[in-house]
Point group: C2
Chain length 308, copies 2
Amino acid sequence: MTLVPVALGPRNHPVLLEAVTRGGANAAALADAHALVWAGNDPAAFPGDVPETIRWVQLPSAGVEEWFAAGVIQRHPEIVWTSAAGAYAATVAEHAFAMLLAGVRGLPEHLAATTWRQRELFGLVGTLRGSRVGIVGAGGIGRALIPMLASVGATTVAVNRSGRPVDGADEAVPADRVDEVFSTVDHVVIAAPATEETRHLVGREQLSRLGSKSWVINVARGSLVDTEALVEVLRDRRIGGAGLDVTDPEPLPDGHPLWGLPNAIVTPHDSNLPALRLPAYAAHVAENVRRFVAGEDLMARIDPVAGY
Amino acid sequence: MTLVPVALGPRNHPVLLEAVTRGGANAAALADAHALVWAGNDPAAFPGDVPETIRWVQLPSAGVEEWFAAGVIQRHPEIVWTSAAGAYAATVAEHAFAMLLAGVRGLPEHLAATTWRQRELFGLVGTLRGSRVGIVGAGGIGRALIPMLASVGATTVAVNRSGRPVDGADEAVPADRVDEVFSTVDHVVIAAPATEETRHLVGREQLSRLGSKSWVINVARGSLVDTEALVEVLRDRRIGGAGLDVTDPEPLPDGHPLWGLPNAIVTPHDSNLPALRLPAYAAHVAENVRRFVAGEDLMARIDPVAGY
């Protein structure tokens, strides 16, 4: 029996080589391959042309807007493209949860304190118990967040395209009603893909619907939040705070107002631990190779029209 | 039918009055009562003598070592004493979890950063996923923590007196083997009562068994941790960090080394939110009154010999 030939690029990383083998395929040169598993992060380094034998390309990032911007995916509409969406979901969800919980319990102010200010700090300690948290984007990260929030007694409202029920979420709302969600929740976590439609999904109007103790967490892409509007409400303390693993602009330049705000937690897009990234990608690759070999539907198939 | 008479002290707080009624008893003067529900925090303010008709006293705090120190409980060994252990467990567990998660994800260092230091901060971001967390004390707080830790993929080792299995914990270890636990876990949460036996349960020896990324969380009482030994390992970065809602001495004096350490999160004993404390105590009172009226076992009965 001849195994399905799968190429690796830009180089043969041993961990991914092992994943391809584990998935039941054979590592092969690009010219002979039916599929290409890519491990590079720079779309410009992707081959300008891929052989006609290639039927599937696996990309290493969860968000693929840069690959669309570079025209890589559109160049080969005949190929099935898959992202790594979902592969890194658990660690990113944990990061979002950590920022939300830290914010709600007032840890930023506590960390700044150098004296036992119980009376002043008491009022800043909140709880997620009994709170209602909106999760915008019910992909891998959003779905991984639901049991975490449930474990501390929060209820969840998931926003997805169709509004169809989401496992474990107490409520699901379609994307075209996302603005309403900001009026009914205590906190919001943004975990939706970056597209033209989701640009500035969190703007002045949406922020004005939140309460004075509300936290906004963004672990998706900076473009989903209107930074200027966010800085304004944080400065005026019209919301509780913001936890941002992604920013716009990114990297956040030195001297940017977000660096100086006591109610902003900024982490430099490091929620997806490098130490865990390769093994997580390898597990994703192994499963998708297995599906490819078996002729099953692949995970995280990119929709060239939707743009993610 | 005559309702069981229950007295409130030091005053008739309406929320507790309602709880006593909800529990099926009648509010009465101390001289006529069979039980006393106390809401004051100062043992010195407790009546020097209580009428012989009193068969049960409910105290408002979860830890009762101050009531023992003042001799209040020992003065009336014929009375059944109950604490509020468990009543505040959920919010304290959430606080412990918030500090642990914030510490492990490197949020203190991130909050101190004022520039996009991705390369430096990457190494500080850890994950609870796949980690092993020791919970010393499997009372209300410890048990409330277990599902929170499970939700982010951590396994738990519960330490209790007997080592009998604890619901949801992956392992249970008897208190006399607590030192061994420090050698096998990634992180430790202290949630055990303050007694002579638990004093400095976390000392130089135990801390030396932890790893360089381990966090120690204390939401019990300051006396369980040897502060001097802790400051030493934090200074030398021999452990990851410490999250302390309780300290020794407490309040932590100005200028204490713990205030200046970048890997210490100190919250001034405010994990038990004042806003939630009274309703939580009222719910506990209502249930214990119901049990008292029905002749059932009371929750959180104090053991005058064990001292908690």
